[in-house]
């Protein structure tokens, strides 16, 4: 193995010219802003309307894509009947147009090659690229077993490739959405209520009287129906309590903003529990009927007074009491929101447990204005032969973490390094829809794993940084150009939505279902893909559901009545939770048996040294992960991230808004690019903040390359949750460099 074998290739290395003949969407109406509105309207009537659901984020809002005769997507509008969007897409959904029109898209398959001693990519035909993948996969399967080929994925393409992997005998599958995102809360809530929170979260924000956000910044994370419902809650006069060291947008809408010291959420929550129990504010009837371990909890929190928490959190005792009383006053219509990207300090399952226990004390799980019981429709399976049984799966690879509910990506990555996990060695990756250099922390480990691989395929619509590490890059078409799985939504009422191509795939891009089928056929698995077009699968499933593709093309979304019973608990009927005891487990015997704390405890986390600031990161409403930074429409709204610095800190260092700075973290890692300073009172004294998903390395991303800092490259210290393998990423500290450290003398 040579380290240069997988040298990062910037996709621009070899010419891809001659393909970028983007017809201009604009100016098609001539130079008149209004008088030819009639003409415009006539054209508007000629637009074809195609049903789709959005893929710019994971919320999957159903929408209509409007396209013209020339194959341009003109606009995308939310579907009125869809509970995820209620006819209103978020900026990313509206700007989904740019996913299609981006002239920097991947255009042909690419294969790694060496020309004049330089590693580079050359354009290849699909036939050649797919043959290479199939033969490499077959070779690895024969030598090491199919299990040694891993799939790292996100979003819709993942489903089709998962079928391919299961078909050839591998279930070594992981996605950053678990261990790098919402995993801790799923495990924490399951331990308490026996059920995942899931997506969309079954938070009854619409009818809540008190919404508590702890490190969650709804409004900056644009989870559509939640943002809509929070707005309804504001109209209804609900109390909002926001716990965040930064003055988030949500904090600005709150009656109570608690600017907590970073890393001390559990102490605050323990004190809240203390007040609820001490002042007899908890829902006694609910706890007596449904919960187990109340006496242990009461004993456990007896010393965690607001005065105790004050010294840790810097939140004044009277404010802790006042907010606890506000929550109790509104209960059970109170939501302690579980959050979404909840990998903080490595004790995140316990943090989620604390949230779940608070919800239990307030009686909000299964109550109006708290959490409703979600329901979804089970989709009929398109028939295929039984999958072979793998000798080992993601479970074995992730077994270091006993309550991992999905593949732990970072463990799959570790198993790819010889000597790290020789029992379950991983030799090849297929990466689809996830830009690992921005979704996985600890870049050194990631690069070491990539260098060790025998083979790596990346499937994406854009030349994301991760494509530069691949042996083969496959250009996927966007969601606007393909059939996809039926979206079966988990919500108040079940619903299905379809995605049909609004336009033909641009360039030489192909849908993931087609890629999976081609590779499958070349590996001798044709019987697993018994269709010519994925449309046939959808038609079969819709027929089984008593509807048709023709009907769904007309309506886009079909809502179904509930079958699983009422939305909320019926307090006269018994209810069995899906926990081992059938009750809400305030005290977890399961955790105790595994050697973990049965109830959450506060642990002190490292603090920044003098001259260093905690690196906090979050979302902006117009961007998703690192996926949208180059989208022409969304880039226009926000071109780069900025470094939020408190004015007092800025004065000490001598920083001005707009000034370019570089960052160095506690492990001497220096940011690749500069970031512009934003001096603002919205952030405190011990932390700096930036929006995630910028600082792209690939020059082929003409708008996003070199703009801002990639926070993930500065996250080299990872606090792993011993319960489920989540990677806590908020314990990294940076110092601000005002001189360019990359300048050569």
């Amino acid at each position: 193995m040579t380290t240069s074998r997988r040298k990062f290739i910037k996709i621009s290395a070899l010419g891809l010219g001659g393909l970028a003949t983007v017809s201009t969407v604009y100016n098609m109406f001539g130079g008149n802003s209004y008088l030819d509105a009639v003409v415009k309207q006539n054209i508007a009537n000629k637009f074809k309307r195609s049903a789709t659901y959005c893929e710019v984020c994971f919320w999957k809002c159903a929408a209509w894509a409007y396209s013209d005769d020339e194959g341009n997507i003109q606009k995308i509008i939310g579907n009125d009947d869809d509970s995820h969007c209620n006819g209103r897409l978020c900026p990313r959904g509206t700007g989904g147009v740019g996913m299609y029109s981006d002239e920097d898209r991947l255009k042909t398959p690419l294969i790694r090659t060496i020309i004049d001693g330089e590693e580079t990519f050359r354009e290849a035909s699909w036939e050649e690229a797919l043959d290479l993948i199939a033969s490499k996969f077959k070779g690895i399967k024969e030598t090491y077993g199919a299990e040694s080929i891993a799939l790292l994925k996100h979003g819709s393409p993942g489903k089709h490739l998962e079928h391919l992997f299961n078909a050839f005998g591998s279930d070594t599958i992981g996605e950053p959405a678990y261990a790098q995102c919402r995993g801790p809360r799923e495990t924490g809530f399951k331990l308490t209520f026996g059920s995942w929170v899931g997506s969309p979260e079954p938070t009854d924000i619409r009818d809540t009287k008190c919404l508590v956000l702890i490190g969650s910044h709804i409004g900056e994370n644009m989870h559509n129906s939640q943002v809509q419902e929070m707005s309804d809650a504001i109209d209804n006069g609900a109390t909002i309590i926001t716990v965040d060291p930064r003055f988030s947008t949500a904090a600005s809408k709150s009656q109570h903003w608690l600017p907590i010291k970073p890393g001390t959420d559990i102490a605050l929550m323990l004190a809240w529990m203390h007040v609820l129990i001490e002042e007899n504010l908890y829902d006694k009837k609910y706890i007596d009927k449904y919960a187990l371990g109340f006496n242990e909890l009461k004993e456990h929190v007896s010393t965690f007074t607001p005065e105790w928490a004050y010294s840790i959190t810097t939140i004044k005792p009277e404010e802790i009491r006042r907010t606890a009383r506000a929550m109790a006053y509104a209960s059970p219509a109170t939501i302690i929101h579980p959050g979404r990207h909840v990998v903080w300090y490595g004790d995140d399952t316990q943090r989620a447990r604390a949230m779940a226990i608070l919800n239990a004390l307030l009686g909000s799980w299964g109550r109006r204005g708290g959490f409703y019981f979600k329901e979804s429709l089970k989709l009929p399976k398109f028939p295929h032969p039984e999958y072979p049984k793998p000798k080992w799966t993601w479970k074995e690879v992730s077994s270091k973490y006993p309550l991992a509910e999905m593949g732990v990506t970072t463990e799959i990555i570790r198993a790819s390094i010889p000597g790290e996990n020789d029992e379950y060695p991983v030799k090849a990756w297929m990466v689809a829809g996830t830009n690992l250099t921005k979704s996985i922390p600890n870049k050194r480990l990631l690069e070491k794993a990539i260098e060790s691989l025998d083979f790596m395929v990346v499937i994406d619509t854009m030349p994301m940084d991760v494509t530069g590490y691949a042996d083969v890059v496959l250009p996927e078409c966007t969601y606007l150009e393909r059939y996809d799985e039926i979206r079966s939504a988990t919500n108040r009422e079940p619903s299905i939505a379809i995605r049909i191509p609004a336009v033909k795939p641009k360039y030489d891009s192909k849908p993931a279902w087609w890629i999976a089928k081609q590779i499958g056929e070349k590996m001798g698995l044709a019987d697993q893909f018994a269709y010519d077009d994925y449309k046939e699968v959808i038609e079969y499933q819709l027929k089984e559901l008593g509807t048709s593709l023709e009907e769904l093309e007309q309506i886009g979304v079909k809502n179904y009545p509930r079958k699983s019973g009422p939305l909320y608990l019926n307090e006269n009927d018994p209810y069995t939770f899906f926990t081992p005891s059938g009750k809400i487990e305030l005290y977890s015997q399961e955790l105790k048996n595994l050697g973990f704390d049965p109830m959450p405890v506060f642990t002190k986390h490292p603090e920044p040294e003098q001259g260093y600031y905690r690196l906090n990161y979050g979302r902006a409403p117009m961007h998703t992960f690192s996926r949208t930074a180059n989208n022409p429409n969304l880039n226009d709204l926000m071109k780069e991230n900025t470094l939020w610095v408190n004015p007092k800190v800025a004065r000490i260092i001598g920083l001005k808004t707009g000034q370019e700075v570089w960052l160095k973290n506690q492990d001497e890692i220096i940011s690749s690019f500069a970031i512009k300073v934003r001096v603002t009172e919205r952030t405190g004294f011990d932390a700096v903040y930036m929006v995630h998903g910028f600082g792209h390395q690939n020059k082929k991303l003409s708008r996003a390359n070199g703009k801002g800092i990639n926070d993930t490259e500065l996250i080299s210290r990872v606090a792993i949750d011993p319960i489920m393998g989540g990677t806590g990423m908020r314990g990294n500290f940076v110092t601000i460099l005002t001189e360019n450290p990359h300048k050569t003398i």
């Binding site: 130079g31 209004y34 009639v38 003109q74 700007g95 429409n633 603002t680 009172e681 405190g684």
Partner: protein, 173 residues
């Protein structure tokens, strides 16, 4: 138009919806978001709001237009007839809201309240798309309309009232 600053999260959906509805070239916009931060950490206030042409009753842009391209139509909407516009830029200078810009094709462009949609009984694109439903559009002359009722019952302001333009975009505060 009435915009509730207590609900706006500044997501810019109104901006991109306007761009795709009205073919506004990337790099230009007819509406935009402003953020105002007051106070010192941790006693901070934040106001987010969506801004655009205020469709003023006493519109300086209309008064100063040498060709009549800028004009007011029924309902009080200020429009620009692109074909009559010579691109002199007087209106751009005169607007206290900086709501006008020169389109790359030469004429002056700005918000039309989606006049082409209104005729069809549809709301302006920005209003119809807003995820927080913080924007309201209707007839201010009708005392029973939603917008009139909001202004009757809620504290509100207009932008740059000192300019004396009698703007038609109101902000609930």
């Amino acid at each position: 138009m009435v915009i509730d600053t207590l609900k706006c999260v500044g997501c810019s959906d109104c901006v991109v919806a306007c761009q795709t509805e009205n073919n506004v070239p990337v790099g230009y916009c007819r509406d935009w978001i402003t953020e105002i931060v007051n106070g010192a950490y941790p006693n901070v206030e934040l106001e987010l709001k969506s801004e655009r042409c205020n469709h003023c009753d006493t519109a300086p842009c209309v008064r100063c237009c040498p060709t009549g391209a800028s004009h007011i139509v029924e309902g009080g909407i200020v429009l620009v007839t692109g074909n009559d516009c010579i691109g002199c830029g007087a209106c751009i200078e005169s607007c206290p809201y900086d709501a006008r810009f020169q389109h790359p094709e030469g004429y002056v462009d700005k918000c039309t309240f989606c006049h082409h949609r209104l005729k069809d009984g549809q709301l302006p694109a920005c209003v119809s798309v807003c995820p927080t439903k913080c924007m309201y559009f209707g007839d201010l002359d009708n005392p029973n309309s939603e917008v009139s009722q909001l202004l009757k019952n809620r504290k509100h302001k207009t932008l740059a009232p000192e300019a004396g333009t009698n703007p038609h975009v109101f902000y609930l505060i």
